[in-house]
């Protein structure tokens, strides 16, 4: 068991390092970068929803917060996107507490519905807010390649390594949460909030802590996205469909597990790209049909997701 784990990690590390060599076409590189980005978003969502049991369908708000904060700070104040990333994370954490405090009074489905409402409100505000480009969006000026500028045009590899770093950080924090006392409080709240309160756990405080971690990583992903695409508008940076996609990836991959959400992204993101390539504009919803079918299958046959399937296969 121990030795096989070491081998597995070594194989994964080798694969991860070899990807830039294997994925020679820009299209494939883009795909791999997307998988890692969405894997991180799904894992960040999982901190709140998987461990702590609070299903949020408004995480696009934090993604947008990260993307817009770094972009606006760059355009208006010439601030480095790296500082912008930090600013976006801080702002998203603050926002998550402001949103979470009232919303956490609601339980289960009602909480999820409230987060959808908040997401729609924030997107509508962004669509009408002139200072951040309103519906026209914002474009970042193209700068020469450099780490300081967070822009790479001659080769996209640096983006790959940056998003990989973000994902690994997110996984490391999640692994720490899983093992720490805080992680057990999260799980106690997920399994039975009243019982958690009855043993003296301040339930709302820990839900807010989970929300803060979750929002922070999603915001970092948002800044990354802004620097990668160099164009932002409310339709692309904070749509409801993004919130739902993040949730879907984690659910299909395995809610409440460390590797599930990444696994979900690794399976579903290429699938959606494939259908896009195969069907073009006429098949716009084909990936959603496949997602729906997969989701139904997961719910019926394997509620623990792909990660549960793997665990079962290994247990045999």
């Amino acid at each position: 068991m121990r030795r096989s784990t070491v081998l597995l990690v070594a194989a994964l590390a080798a694969l991860v390092l070899a990807v830039p060599l294997l994925a020679r076409l820009p299209y494939h590189r883009d795909l791999v970068i997307k998988v890692l980005l969405f894997g991180m978003l799904a894992q960040a969502w999982n901190i709140l929803a998987g461990y702590c049991g609070q299903i949020s369908l408004g995480h696009a708000v934090f993604f947008g917060t990260g993307a817009y904060t770094s972009t606006v700070l760059q355009l208006e104040a010439g601030l480095s996107p790296w500082l912008g990333l930090l600013g976006g994370v801080l702002l998203a954490v603050l926002l998550s507490q402001i949103i979470g405090y009232p919303c956490f009074r609601l339980r289960g489905h009602y909480f999820a519905i409230a987060t959808i409402a908040v997401g729609e409100i924030v997107q509508t505000l962004a669509l009408n807010w002139e200072a951040i480009g309103a519906a026209r969006g914002l474009s970042l000026p193209i700068r020469p390649d450099s780490l300081a500028a967070f822009q790479f045009h001659r080769s996209k590899y640096p983006y790959y390594y940056i998003v990989l770093g973000l994902l690994l950080t997110c996984l490391a924090v999640s692994a720490w949460i899983e093992r720490s006392r805080v992680g057990y409080y999260f799980r106690a709240i997920r399994e039975d909030p009243e019982a958690a309160a009855s043993v003296g756990i301040p339930v709302t405080r820990y839900k807010l802590i989970a929300m803060a971690f979750s929002a922070a990583f999603v915001a970092a992903g948002g800044t990354f996205y802004a620097q990668y695409v160099l164009f932002l508008d409310p339709e692309s940076a904070m749509p409801l469909s993004l919130s739902i996609l993040i949730c879907l990836l984690a659910v299909v991959g395995g809610v409440g597990t460390l590797w599930g959400p990444v696994l979900g992204a690794a399976v579903l993101i290429p699938l959606s790209e494939l259908t896009r390539v195969q069907f073009g504009g006429t098949g716009r919803a084909v990936d959603l049909i496949i997602y729906g079918a997969l989701l139904t299958a997961v719910a019926v046959y394997q509620p623990a997701g792909l990660a549960g399937l793997l665990r079962r296969a290994r247990g045999r």
Partner: protein, 234 residues
């Protein structure tokens, strides 16, 4: 130790408790009796802060606690074991117990408390690595009580500890409640079996439709006409 005065609780427009008062002295075992829907659980939930009273006061060890959040009430040495056990199903027995020692005050004593709980419930020690949902009903009840003890309470409230359990397990848990009490913990529990409850208790309270119908030393209640006629059928 616990003094509830003129407690009124509403769920929306529906009033559940109408001016209920009760007092439990330190070192006692007390039971709260009454038919379904009388408001027994609501009293315990109000005491532990899970529901907010509309009127009345709750004093625990001489201090008002009726406006405090649950986690602060628990800090003061009160432990509430909820109805239907409510263990964390997908955590192991030992993790369930450890979570009971959340409070700052209880954390340094976790190993000691764990040993105490395992001594009270040897069955839990045998099953410590098992997931809680795989335990039998009686074992889950033991786990719920054990988890409640991990915070080192001075006052333990148990909501229907014997619900759905066989006679042998009931006897076992009764014995443990006596032991816990002998260790200096005041106990207040809810029970439907009047005879059984009054036999272990020092004091009893009978609740009917949200009002206190009878209260007094358990021995007197066993003799009371109302109880003899309505609940014991003699």
């Amino acid at each position: 130790m616990l003094a509830v005065r003129d407690l009124e609780v509403l769920y929306g427009d529906f009033q559940v408790l109408w001016g209920v008062s009760l007092e439990v002295q330190e070192g006692e075992i007390a039971c709260l009796l009454g038919p379904n829907g009388a408001g027994k659980s609501t009293i315990l939930n109000a005491v532990s802060g899970l529901v907010r009273p509309a009127a009345g006061t709750i004093e625990f060890c001489g201090e008002r606690v009726d406006r405090l959040p649950t986690h602060e009430i628990v800090t003061r040495g009160l432990s509430h074991i909820l109805e239907r056990r409510r263990v964390f199903p997908y955590l192991t027995v030992e993790k369930n117990l450890s979570l009971g020692a959340y409070q700052e005050r209880a954390r340094p004593h976790r190993e000691e408390s764990l040993a105490w709980v395992y001594d009270l419930f040897p069955r839990l020690r045998e099953r410590r690595q098992q997931l809680a949902h795989s335990l039998s009903g009686g074992e889950q009840q033991m786990l719920a009580i054990g988890r409640g003890l991990m915070s080192r309470p001075r006052f333990l409230m148990i909501d229907e500890p014997f619900l759905g359990l066989g006679p042998r397990v009931v006897a076992e848990i009764l014995e443990i409640i006596r032991k816990i009490n002998a260790a200096g913990v005041t106990v207040l529990f809810i029970e439907q079996n009047v005879q059984l409850a009054l036999e272990v208790s020092h004091r009893g309270f009978l609740l009917e439709s949200g009002r206190m119908a009878l209260a007094g030393p358990a021995r007197d209640l066993l003799e009371a006409d109302l109880i003899r006629e309505v609940y014991l059928g003699i």
